[in-house]
């Protein structure tokens, strides 16, 4: 708990209070029907597809559904560290056991095949690019923040497999923690504008399918991602609103979660320093 003292603790407490009040007051407004959520289509289809709690989560509460998926990854990482990471993870207050020392693995890049030697690094870097492409296009196509996070950490893992600890993609400890924290915080706080304007947490004020948000918010959150769809029936204008931003936050979140797992098993983990 020492980390939560001082300025960090105050910021964490204020953020927790805001999110708790917003989330609980949104729950109080539930009337038994699917609430205004990310998409009108989701709302229209949810009870027709499967009128149960699962459908409500998947269709209307998709944001929270993905947030909880990420929580599962963090728990998975913690359990993995506890189960097979004995001696790898060194916490400040658990120094009773001496760290397990293992022989350093010898990665000899000269033993790599020609294809891996010359195309391993470009493939890893292109995986990073591909992950970024997936997250930026996720509002108009398949994929999303979660997939982006998995693809980018795959690039990190591929480079680590080929080059070991001297991997050319060196996500630092502070970098991974920072990315994860920005993602998690950004994900939760993106719900705030919608809550303040409409009373619904994470209401998509950019798209505003229910016509509840003022037009200035459409411009700020909607116009940067607005596309014109040219169909036979005519030209239509559509925007995913805050979904691209949520996807980016989610991608950061997943990179932080999975990246930490890889980092801990690659370099070990110590509370003291980088």
């Amino acid at each position: 708990m020492e980390e939560l003292k001082g300025k960090r603790g105050i910021i964490a407490l204020i953020a927790l209070i805001i999110i708790t009040i917003g989330f609980l007051s949104s729950l109080i407004k539930l009337t038994g029907r699917v609430n205004p959520g990310i998409s009108e289509v989701y709302n229209a289809l949810a009870y027709l597809v499967a009128p149960n709690n699962l459908a409500t989560w998947v269709y209307d509460w998709r944001g929270f559904d993905t947030l909880l998926e990420t929580a599962v990854i963090y728990v998975g990482g913690l359990v993995s560290a506890l189960a097979i990471g004995r001696g790898v993870v060194q916490m400040k207050k658990c120094k009773q056991e001496s760290p397990v020392t293992s022989k350093p693995l010898e990665f000899r890049t000269e033993s790599l095949t020609v294809i891996l030697k010359y195309l391993g690094i470009p493939a890893s870097i292109l995986l990073l690019s591909y992950g970024i492409m997936v997250v930026t296009g996720s509002s108009t196509s398949g994929g999303g923040g979660f997939q982006c996070g998995v693809i980018m950490t795959s690039g990190y893992l591929l480079a680590a497999i080929l080059y070991g600890k001297d991997t050319p993609i060196k996500f630092g400890k502070r970098f991974i923690i920072g990315i994860g924290a920005i993602g998690l915080g950004g994900y939760a706080l993106l719900g705030l504008p919608g809550y303040l304007v409409t009373g619904y947490w994470q209401y998509n004020i950019g798209a505003d399918v229910w016509g509840l948000a003022p037009s200035i918010l459409h411009i700020i959150f909607g116009d940067p991602f607005r596309l014109s769809l040219i169909l036979k029936e005519g030209v239509f204008y559509s925007t995913p609103g805050i979904i691209p931003l949520i996807n980016i936050a989610e991608a950061f979140n997943v990179i932080g979660a999975i990246g930490l797992i890889y980092f801990a098993f690659l370099y070990g983990w110590s509370d003291e320093g980088e």
Partner: protein
């Protein structure tokens, strides 16, 4: 004339993802610990262009990069700008 009409239909949604990809590329590019040679940079950009064509945008959205020049072909520009961003990030970090 037709071209001008098409440009008018282009919205910010065509450009913003590319800019975001560039920024994200720079952020992650700073984490590279690899000496990028001229050959490697050419290889990365060439592969990105090929991949951006393979993962091209949906043709029902107007695209200045593809639709304007050659209707029916769409380049996924965020992939190219992400690669350029990674290279810039690496060069900035040194």
């Amino acid at each position: 004339m037709v071209g001008l009409m098409k440009v008018n239909k282009m919205m910010l949604g065509e450009i913003t993802p590319s800019l975001i990809a560039l920024i994200l590329g720079i952020i992650f590019g700073t984490q590279l610990d690899y000496k990028l040679t001229k050959g490697m940079i050419i290889l990365l950009i060439s592969f990105s262009i090929v991949a951006s064509l393979l993962f091209g945008v949906f043709t029902f959205t107007y695209s200045i990069y593809g639709g304007y020049i050659a209707p029916g072909i769409g380049f996924s520009m965020p992939l190219i700008t992400a690669t350029i961003g990674i290279i810039i990030g690496k060069l900035l970090k040194g």
